[in-house]
């Protein structure tokens, strides 16, 4: 039946921070709780009906007391707020060198794709001590990728990319859950996070069916869906080149500027009319409903792999 566990395993760089925050919240709460309960019990005993204690000189000027306890509570609350806000911002700011791993949720499994093309279902292998950035989406309903030992979770929302990062600190196996109700087998939609020594991890990667990498598969799709016809530079239609695009600012037709991240690439494939790059006619057809989440991820990975390349300037039409 298991013993009475009090804390989950602590296995990521966020976990210890979270436990300290928990301790601070517990501390403030315990103080207020003991104060309220202590006073209540004290008053109930001391001023019970029939006790002979002096009851004269009751508190007048109640507003002073009110202002005092309102101010003090609010000050304590603010400290907790900033503490939590700071950690939240850190949880959402992945370090630049983090490895991207793509996760697609579907009823009722987690499909995981490593940048090298290795695929897993319901299991995620990661190296200890290296930051990992997860890019999450869902193929059907909302799911939630939750790893209690890492103290993190994030909804996987269909039609969107959500990101989340962590750095495992302890080798071992930890539980993965789906935390957003997603239908009949919600409770069984989970698995294992396997944290390995970097060398073991490399061996594991190598032992997997090597296959083409995500970006290579994306490149093939880029041709088969006909993207290269316009974006490849050889066609007659003037379309933006994608080399060197990823991660850079893109000026839009309506005057705004967006960063070309996973979300922008994905939205531009599915809703090309939503954010038109300045200077290009909005002629691209929507691929919504034609490209599945798996293929979208590969296309995004391919375009991301072009980030460090430059288009042959001779091929680029004059602006």
């Amino acid at each position: 039946m298991g013993s009475l566990q009090l804390l989950p395993p602590t296995a990521s760089s966020h976990a210890a921070d979270m436990d300290w925050l928990f301790a601070a919240l517990l501390g403030v709460s315990a103080f207020i709780l003991l104060l309220v309960f202590g006073l209540m019990i004290l008053f109930c005993v001391r001023y019970r009906k029939g006790s002979k204690v002096e009851r004269g000189n009751r508190l007048g000027r109640t507003w002073r007391v009110e202002v005092a306890w309102t101010g003090l509570t609010f000050a304590a609350f603010l400290v907790l707020y900033f503490w939590g806000a700071d950690l939240y911002v850190r949880i959402h700011s992945p370090p630049g060198e983090a490895t991207d791993i793509y996760v697609v949720g579907k009823q009722w499994m987690w499909k995981i794709e490593h940048p090298g093309g290795q695929r897993e279902i319901d299991t995620l292998h990661v190296p200890v001590g290296r930051p990992v950035r997860l890019v999450l989406t869902s193929q059907d309903v909302i799911h939630d990728f939750a790893i209690p030992a890492f103290r993190i979770r994030q909804d996987a929302v269909p039609g969107r990319y959500e990101t989340l990062w962590f750095m495992p600190t302890e080798v071992g196996e930890y539980r993965l859950f789906c935390a957003e109700f997603c239908g009949t087998w919600h409770s069984r939609m989970g698995g294992t996070i396997v944290v390995m020594e970097p060398s073991d991890f490399q061996r594991w990667l190598d032992s997997q069916d090597p296959g083409p990498s995500l970006a290579q598969e994306g490149e093939a799709l880029f041709r088969s869906y006909g993207c290269s016809g316009c974006h490849g530079g050889a066609g007659t239609v003037r379309a933006p080149r994608l080399e060197g695009l990823f991660g850079r600012p893109v000026p839009l037709e309506d005057g705004r500027t967006v960063i070309a991240d996973d979300r922008y690439i994905r939205d531009s494939i599915l809703m090309p009319k939503a954010e038109i790059a300045a200077g290009y006619p909005p002629v691209m057809p929507s691929f919504a409903g034609q490209i599945g989440e798996d293929d979208l991820l590969k296309l995004v990975a391919y375009i991301k792999s072009l980030a460090d390349k430059t288009a042959d300037s001779a091929e680029r039409p004059a602006p």
């Binding site: 039946m1 298991g2 013993s3 009475l4 566990q5 009090l6 989950p8 921070d17 925050l21 928990f22 919240l25 403030v28 207020i32 709780l33 309220v36 309960f37 006073l39 209540m40 008053f43 109930c44 001023y47 019970r48 009906k49 009751r58 508190l59 109640t62 007391v65 009110e66 306890w69 509570t73 609010f74 609350f77 907790l80 707020y81 939590g84 806000a85 950690l87 939240y88 309903v141 909302i142 939630d144 939750a146 209690p148 993190i152 979770r153 909804d155 929302v157 269909p158 969107r160 539980r175 859950f177 789906c178 935390a179 957003e180 109700f181 239908g183 009949t184 919600h186 409770s187 069984r188």
Partner: protein
Amino acid sequence: MTTATVTGKPEEPVVATKNYLTEEGTTLRSWLLTRDHKRIAILYTLSLTVFFFVGGAAATLIRLNLVTPAGIFTPDIYNRLFTLHGIVMVWFFLIPSIPNTMGNFLIPLMIGAKDLAFPRLNLLSWYLYMGAGFLALFAILIGGVDTGWTFYTPFSSLYSNGYVVLALAAVFAVGFSSILTGLNFIVTTHRLRAPGMTWYRLPVFVWSNYATSVIMVLATPVLAITLLLVAVERLLRVGIFDPALGGDPLLFQHLFWFYSHPAVYIMILPGFGVISEIVPCFARKPLFGYKFVVWSSIAISVIGFFVWAHHMFVAGISLYAGLVFSLLSYVIAVPSAIKVFNWTATLHKGWISFDAPMLYALGFIGLFTIGGLTGLFVANLAFDVHVTDTYFVVAHFHYIMVGGMVSAYFGGLHYWWPKVTGRLYPEWWARIAALLIFFGFNLTFFPQFILGYLGMERRYYAYPPEFQAWNIFSSAGASVLAVGYVLPFFYLGWSLFRGKRAGSNPWAATGLEWKTPSPPPTHNFDRTPTVTRPPYQYRPEPEPQDV
């Protein structure tokens, strides 16, 4: 029942010759067509009790299933059970609980009016509630719904196989019942106060229901529209929330919580009102900081509209939205804390007795404080990333809704029982029930905080074996809690026939509702009372009571 002996005024005839229970006749027809706010309150109380036991039965089965890690029921049955539990308890018990029963009965009495402003609307509100209730029960009986009470899209709109549209229709309809009641209370409080009953002489119970009514009238329409949109997407495949059709699933969450977070305050504010009546009466002292208690209710009802996205910290909202909504959630914790401090300070230098209503009230303060403080945990941006959608959240809101609101409901039920029925209940049984509920509740829900931090997710019919020990504690507590909730059903029922006659004011309480016989006559007061003093003018018991 010692307080009953010092009412400080000569007893009037033990049974009022004319009272609302008999005056209009005793036929079923006279009840079903009544426009008397007190009779409608009784109709509500009876129907709410049925729904409370339906929702409670589902909770019992849920706790039974969770005794073993593998579960007992199939996942589809379990998913229908927690959906049923949520929908019935939220919309058919908690939201109408105190306003539609005690609010209906007491607001006109407390402000010295003959009835609510719109008696026919009041009856219509009950019929809407019943119609919606039957629709919900029908949906459950023909196969149930498995979306959870939150109806998250696109699961509810395109993937769920249950009778989602029927359930949506039931919730849609019961919303109109809330709106009508809210409207009625607002107009009544503005227009029907007795001479001399200024706003600052209103009992806090009336203020609380007023604040609640404002939320009901402003927030419920948003829920109605949202549920309608889900039905439209489900039936007509119009893309609103499902990205596959071009919709946005987060839009649903924003709209849903724009109603459902204020709804949390619909569920708890009336409870604050009840406690603010009971504590001064049994501490024999005026309520400490009356104006602060009143304005904190109003503040809660206003700020409550601006905290909704704290339900969505991991759902994919922007970082900046998270920062703002978390801050506002900390702000709204302050007025709740003010109330707790004021009730505690009311006890200071009082003359405290521990009759059953007071035990419920003290239990409420304790449980609500724990519920409120754990609210600080889940309002915390980073902490929420670890515990949202776990049992930590389940425990937190049950401390507020069940530990808080249901304790207040039972406290109010005992406090005004003599007024409503004219009879006293057996005091010791009532005290035993109050204690069972307090300890049973803590045993049920405290382990769930730990389970949540360990990572047990919500809405799991089966779970990893390392979570079993705490689940067994929780289920054991639930059986104690169940006994605590069933007991009053028996002794209160018994008291209807055998209870001692109560007299008009068994607690020597202030407040206009105690100045009319128990049970009150149909028109409440023979002469419209005139109010000359603020509420809660209690004095320590040895002094003569001036009530």
